[in-house]
Amino acid sequence: MTAENRPAFDGLEVGQVVAERDVELTRDTLVRYAGASGDFNPIHYNDVIAESVGLPGVIAHGMLTMGTAASVVEEWAGPGNVRDLQARFTRPIPVPNPGAAHVQFTAKVGALDAEARTARIDVTVEFDGQKVLGKAQALVPCS
C-alpha cells in the first residue's frame, strides 16, 4: 500500500473486468504450494488418505485457490495493494494424476466508494462450470 503504485480510481465502473486468468493446477502445483506455505495436510498429495476421509481423491488447498485469486487481483491492483481479502471455500477442486484441473479466475469491480477512493473487487473462480469460492472479495485503495 504505497501511494506510488495504486491503480487509478477515476474511470472504474461497477461490473468492469479488471483481470482474468486461466490456471492449470497439477499435483506439481499442489506440492509446490505445500512446501511454500508449510501446509502439509496429506489430503493435498496422498490419494489413499484423501479417499479415506471421503474425498474423491487429492484436492487443491483452498488457500492455493485463494492465493491465486489474490495474484489475479494484484496483477491489476499492484503488489501489496490488496488491503483486505476474504473468501469462503464452498467446493473442493479435485486434481487428477496424471492431468490437470483447469480453473478460471475473473476479477470484476463489485462496488466503488468515491469518498474513500476504494474499489471492491469480486473474484469468480470456476472449476468444471461451478464456483468454488464464495464471497471472494478484495478491497483495493486507489489513487
Partner: protein
Amino acid sequence: MPVNTDAVGRAYGPHEPYEVTRVKIREFADAVDARSFAHLSEEAARAEGYPDVVAPTTFAVVIAQRAEFHVVVDPEVGVDFSKVVHADERFTHHRPIVAGDLISSIVHIDSIAQRGGISMVTTRTELVDEDGAPVSTVVSTLAVREEA
C-alpha cells in the same frame, strides 16, 4: 469427542517471531502464480515504494497457520485434525509484509458454533512487527466434523 465450546476466548502466544525472508517470499509468489517483480527483486520493490521485496496478499497465512496449529493440537480444545475442512479465511492488512520483517503472532479463539454435527471454529491471528505495530489480522474458520 466434540470440540469444547468453553475454549472460546482462549489465546495462544506470542510465539517465537517469524523472520520474513526474500527466499520465502519468492517461493510463495511462485506457488500462487504472483507475477510482479516486486516479489522477486529488491530494486523492483523499491520502484513500487517498498523498502524490500513485498509479500503476496495471502503470504500472512504462512505465519498465521503456524499460530493456528497451537489451537488444533490443544487437547482441551479437542479438534480432530483428520476431520477438519477449511471453511473460510480473511486477511486484513494494516501494512504490507516485506522481507526483513520479524513478525510475532497471537491467536485467539473467537467463536465455536455447533450445528448439524459440525463445529465451526473461528480463530483470529494478530500479526505484529518488532515495534509491536499491527501488520495483519487473519481470521480463519475450520469446520470440524464430529463422530457419527
